[in-house]
Amino acid sequence: MNTLKTKLLIPITIGFFTLVGCSQQVQNDPDAGVAVNAGEAVINSSGKGANRGSKKSNIRSTVSSNVRNNQSRAVKRGGGAANINRADGSDLTLAGLKDPNNLLSQRIIYFDYDKAAIRPEFMVLINTHAKLLAKYPQLRMTLGGHADERGSREYNVALSENRAKSVKRIMGTQGARASQIRTVGYGEEVPIVAGKGERSWQKNRRVEIKYDNY
């Protein structure tokens, strides 16, 4: 357990400094990102180390202030990877959908266990996609909701549909039309990874954005 915590703290620390520094660096390692989330889960479940607890809240508050302060600075934590990119109006083009350095290339939103509420760190990502929809009324997308393997299968279908609907609701507030977005709840039937444990479960609790024709 000690070894595990030590391993997990490293990516947390990296994530922390990356966020604080508002670096332009692009990290494309999804595993590093998941380690941040898994690390949070460890902190939550132990709930003891005051140090770690404060680091966690630092990450959260930094993300939140980024969100509040300036949307031109998009904090990307798809899978938690601290990935910062410009996502102002100039990037909101259909070509941006195919640019791996554009925030629009991020298509997965992750969730907490048995929750459909959007984590604050995904607001910028969701809003960016929503603005693209608003700009291109012909554009269509499917939001596919997913759950981890815990809980019964039909309950997870409903939970995962609620996750997709949560994303759709926020996109609606940014000017996306309801007719542009289809939601599907897949439950736990289409996992990204097969393993058990929080590291795998976190990867599977998600909404995937799929654009028609893109």
């Binding site: 019964s152 039909e154 309950y155 279908v157 409903a158 609907k165 439950g187 990204i192 097969a194």
Partner: protein, 410 residues
């Protein structure tokens, strides 16, 4: 407690290689019974069925020296009474009829019955096991039944494949009913045991279908916007309860299968799903309206829901048969299978895995099929209601899910 582990390797099926393991904990209060050899496979099938009930203990016939064959004398049979309570003798005639003699060793009483021939020979043996079980325990046997389930290969890969399958209640005679690249879920038997309802995403979104297992004839029951999930036939077969999200939220509805008339049963802001009928007028379902998933009961026409489960943070996925209810109960992060009498307080925990799910109770209420996780693979398990006999059935190439026990076959 005397714990004995049996491992039996059954015949490989033509299309699938299934390994069947029996792991049984036998206790002294189980009833000893001896099945004398019968030509063909009947004696082995009968013995395995009775063993799986958890109420009977199979005594090897080699321990009984001098029992005369079927139809022979039973004089002096009581000398075996300290070894076995019952002796079964049988004979298959040329037409395939199985004649059985069930002999009680203490009083030398003989019960004789014939099982008619069937082109599926294993069913003859299962029917004999049902009768023997009923004579001894006074509970109707449910060995001559089927189990439907879903098998998934490559579950975390784009090449994943879903197969809807049915097998006999002992896992034999597995047949594929449907194959799909998209999710297939929640098989449910019609009350006559001839049709399966299930959820399939084959059209890109969920829809509920009914499919005749003999003719293959398939009909879409519900392909509404949003969720079409958790089908459950009413006991009279006239209505189907299901989970729909047409009002924007996951609710229970019933559909009249003749008229198509839709009736909304639940109305809440929470997730309401997994309906199961308790009689023709009442539905038990899972809801997180109280903060965590729990079981509730509501009139089938709608009305006030009554909470049924209060212990533990998590209770869901109920199935009901013969006045018994089985469900998943969550305790300290682990999920187990529970069984109790409807309205009773006799809850027993039947499973010991960490992620046990999808329980389905046999039509006589005396066995529960469920899925348990072993490594990264789900395995199908059948456990007796006293928890003493447990059978694992696994398809090596796949992840087994959502067993559904058929009603009695006709």
């Amino acid at each position: 407690m005397n714990k004995i582990i049996f491992t039996l390797l059954f015949l490989l099926l033509p299309t699938l290689s299934f390994a069947l393991e029996l792991s049984l904990e036998e206790t002294d209060d189980s009833i000893p019974i001896t099945i004398m050899p019968i030509s063909g496979k009947a004696s082995g099938i009968i013995a395995a069925d009775l063993k799986r009930s958890g109420r009977l203990k199979i005594i090897n016939h080699s321990k009984l020296i001098g029992v005369s064959p079927f139809g022979g004398s039973i004089a002096g049979i009581n000398k075996f009474s300290d070894v076995t309570d019952y002796i079964v003798r049988g004979k298959v005639n040329q037409e395939g009829v199985l004649a059985i003699e069930l002999i009680s060793t203490s009083d030398a009483a003989v019960t004789r019955f014939n099982i008619p021939a069937n082109k599926r020979a294993r069913r003859v043996a299962h029917q004999a096991a049902d009768k023997i079980y009923q004579k001894i325990t006074r509970i109707k046997g449910a060995f001559d039944t089927r189990i439907a389930y879903v098998v998934v290969t490559n579950k975390a890969s784009p090449n994943r494949q879903f197969r809807l399958m049915i097998s006999d209640s002992d896992g034999e005679n597995a047949q594929t009913i449907l194959t799909s690249k998209e999710p297939v879920m929640s098989p449910e038997w019609s009350p006559n045991g001839r049709v399966l309802a299930y959820v399939s995403f084959e059209g890109g979104e969920s829809a509920i279908y009914m499919q005749n297992i003999f003719s293959g004839e398939k009909v879409m029951v519900s392909g509404r916007r949003g969720i079409n999930g958790a089908p459950a036939w009413s006991p009279d077969g006239k209505r189907m309860a299901m989970n729909l999200s047409i009002d924007g939220n996951s609710e229970i509805y019933t559909v009249n299968l003749e008229s198509g008339q839709l009736t909304q049963v639940t109305k809440s802001d929470a997730i309401d799903t997994e309906p199961v009928w308790s009689g023709t007028n009442s539905i038990i379902f899972t809801s997180n309206r109280g903060g965590s998933p729990q079981l509730y009961q509501i009139p089938a026409v709608g009305g006030k829901a009554r909470r049924l489960t209060f212990n533990d943070k998590y209770n869901s996925a109920a199935d009901v048969a013969n006045n018994k209810i089985t469900f998943v109960t969550g305790q300290r992060g682990a999920f187990h299978i529970a069984l109790k009498t409807l309205g009773g307080t006799d809850k027993v925990i039947l499973s010991n895995g960490r992620l046990d799910e999808s329980p389905s109770v046999s039509p006589n209420g005396a066995m529960v099929a469920y899925v348990t996780k072993k490594g990264n693979q789900n395995r199908l398990s059948v456990v007796s209601d006293n928890g003493r006999a447990r059978q694992f059935l696994s398809a090596p190439a796949g992840d087994i899910r959502e067993p559904a026990w058929s009603p009695y076959l006709r």
